[in-house]
Symmetry: C2
Subunit: 363 residues, 2 copies
């Protein structure tokens, strides 16, 4: 949204928002039935315990404000991760938690915050909106992250692990190496996709008071529609996040979101069951695509990042859309010949493979 040439129309806008470029989420079509493999949603419904709790909720009580501090949910998260409640923050999706983190720990117009050149594009959006300087560190040729490349002098570091949209996982010893050499600024590890085979850094928070781990219930807990994100870190970091929240909106999670989230965290069995299924489907899908000639990066996420040597990704994206399958395409240097494909059910992925074969046969 570049409106520099259109200022007359926006005379009432603050200077701050005149040149921002907001994040554009994957499309949520309403007109037509697609196989949706474009926003990394979970193909399975939320845990039956979540459905039950929401069904049994006394909706009459919605007249009352929710608990502004989400005490019970934070308790459940703390228990699950074996940390204290004072080390847990909950918010309206991990995007809000990340935005609050940028406000709480990064200084505007100061040392640059650093993140990989290819990563979740919202980091750059936050920085521009909040006037935080930033630098990017180039991923290696194979899209891996070399932590030694992050400069010592920085205003903060943000790493998505597994990285999006590459799907690649950064091993824990690499995170530790980064934390050992970076003590003076906050390191955010965005673990939106950690539950699909990665290893969480949460158990490092007691050793590194500048480590904040951010997660979401949108992917592995099947609750994208309820908007719940969380952060785990030293209690001073959590206090900072609360100071931001209470300066903007005291109650960011509604009563139904708090209720559903709690049950999702508690149902370990269903969680294990569905994430295993997704991992299995993912690995099978990767094999299928490799057999069809694709290059597929080794994924630890609920999506794969794939490129075909002959059919350009932009073309394939469009052709799949015509065939009723939505995937995500980023028209951006280095990754403009890749598709990010969310992992659906086995049936959906078979359908995808079939359509790709059809498109390839026709091309």
């Amino acid at each position: 949204m570049n409106i520099e040439n259109n200022n007359a129309k926006h005379i009432y806008w603050s200077k701050n928002i005149r040149n921002i470029e907001p994040y554009v989420p994957g499309e949520q079509p309403k007109d037509r039935k697609f196989i949706k493999l474009n926003t990394n949603e979970n193909p399975y419904p939320p845990s039956p315990r979540v459905l039950e709790a929401l069904k049994n909720f006394r909706h009459e009580d919605l007249r009352l404000y929710p608990d502004p501090n989400g005490e019970e949910l934070r308790e459940a998260v703390a228990e699950y991760y074996k940390v204290s409640k004072a080390q847990v923050f909950v918010g309206n999706g991990s995007d809000e938690v990340l935005a609050f983190s940028f406000m709480a720990f990064f200084n505007p117009m100061d040392k640059p915050v650093v993140f990989p050149d290819i990563t979740y594009s919202f980091y750059e959006v936050y920085c521009k909106f909040l006037r935080i300087n930033f630098n990017t560190v180039d991923l290696e040729e194979d899209f891996s992250i070399q932590v030694e490349r992050f400069p010592h002098d920085n205003g903060g570091i943000v790493i998505s692990n597994p990285n999006a949209p590459t799907s690649l996982h950064l091993d824990k010893d690499r995170i530790i190496a980064l934390l050992e050499r970076n003590r003076d600024s906050v390191v955010i590890i965005d673990e939106a996709y950690i539950d699909f085979g990665g290893e969480s850094s949460i158990d490092l928070i007691n050793k590194y008071p500048n480590l904040l781990v951010v997660q979401t219930l949108s992917k592995s807990r099947s609750l994208a529609g309820l908007r719940i994100g969380l952060a785990v870190g030293d209690k001073n970091l959590i206090e900072g996040l609360n100071a931001v929240k209470d300066s903007l909106n005291s109650y960011t999670l509604d009563s139904l979101a708090l209720t559903g989230a709690m049950e999702a965290i508690r149902d370990q069995e269903y969680f294990e069951d569905t994430r295993s299924k997704i991992i299995k489907t993912r690995d099978m899908t990767a094999d299928t695509l490799i057999n069809l000639g694709f290059k597929v990066l080794p994924s630890k996420a609920n999506f794969i990042f794939a490129s075909h040597p002959v059919i350009p990704a932009g073309v394939l994206f469009q052709r799949l859309r015509e065939e009723g399958i939505l995937v995500r395409y980023f028209n951006k240097t280095r990754i403009d010949n890749f598709l990010r494909i969310s992992i659906g059910t086995d049936e959906e992925m078979k359908e995808l493979a079939g359509k790709i074969e059809k498109i390839m046969a026709g091309s």
Copy 2:
């Protein structure tokens, strides 16, 4: 939260949050059953249509992201207020909508934004957090707002109508007078309590492109627990709000909130019925308190602001708490001898009157 003397603990905090003083919402006790007249909640449950829609919601669909733009809800609001969908913004409670508005329309470290000295205390919190200069305009002796007192040279104007915590309504000709003399900056009218006898300024938005009217479903629609706020204004203002939202969090309203909100807006009959009941109870309560010797400001809100000539408000607040009734007390110049009392059911207000008589008899 003044932590100036405690910076060592907060070495990882951004400079921005080191001296902020977050908003403190009214308490939500969990340990004990109180009559809650302290957070202006509606004593009646949400509309039966809301309860029905939430009960019938396919919770399995929570695996999918909500509509990031709340199209259907905005459509319902547009229809209700006879404006276009492009003139409506929806967000996570009116606090979030207000915070986004301050970000979208007010410039940091520039001309001061102006609001009354006694009003919703979150305005000052937003300004401090966002580094927006602000000035206050003194209310008159009778707590009324004199719009001619607002200076021409300002960075924006914010008026709560009816004002909180005074409960006083500003007549529409006064709002028009303000808008006529203030064309260069955005005027926000915060109508959180407008439905209890006030007159909305929404129909002025087509004439004044710098007018933004903010409302909430927490009070008159009994949905404090679902977190829904809205703004109505010129489409360029709404575009500005969307630019802010999409720079922080694409999906601020979850699928259940969107669903419940829509039905609440559509059920005109239930809305009329419950707000009439609250207005009736309010006027009766005011009479009762006046008979008990209180000074009660003429309220157009779902609360009253009352002061007793003998018993100090701080004492009465504490004694009522001991008797199981929560009201709100602000220990702040000019209003530190007033109590803000939310309007409950007739029964609850009779209970309140009884307890006050008891306390007065004992003092």
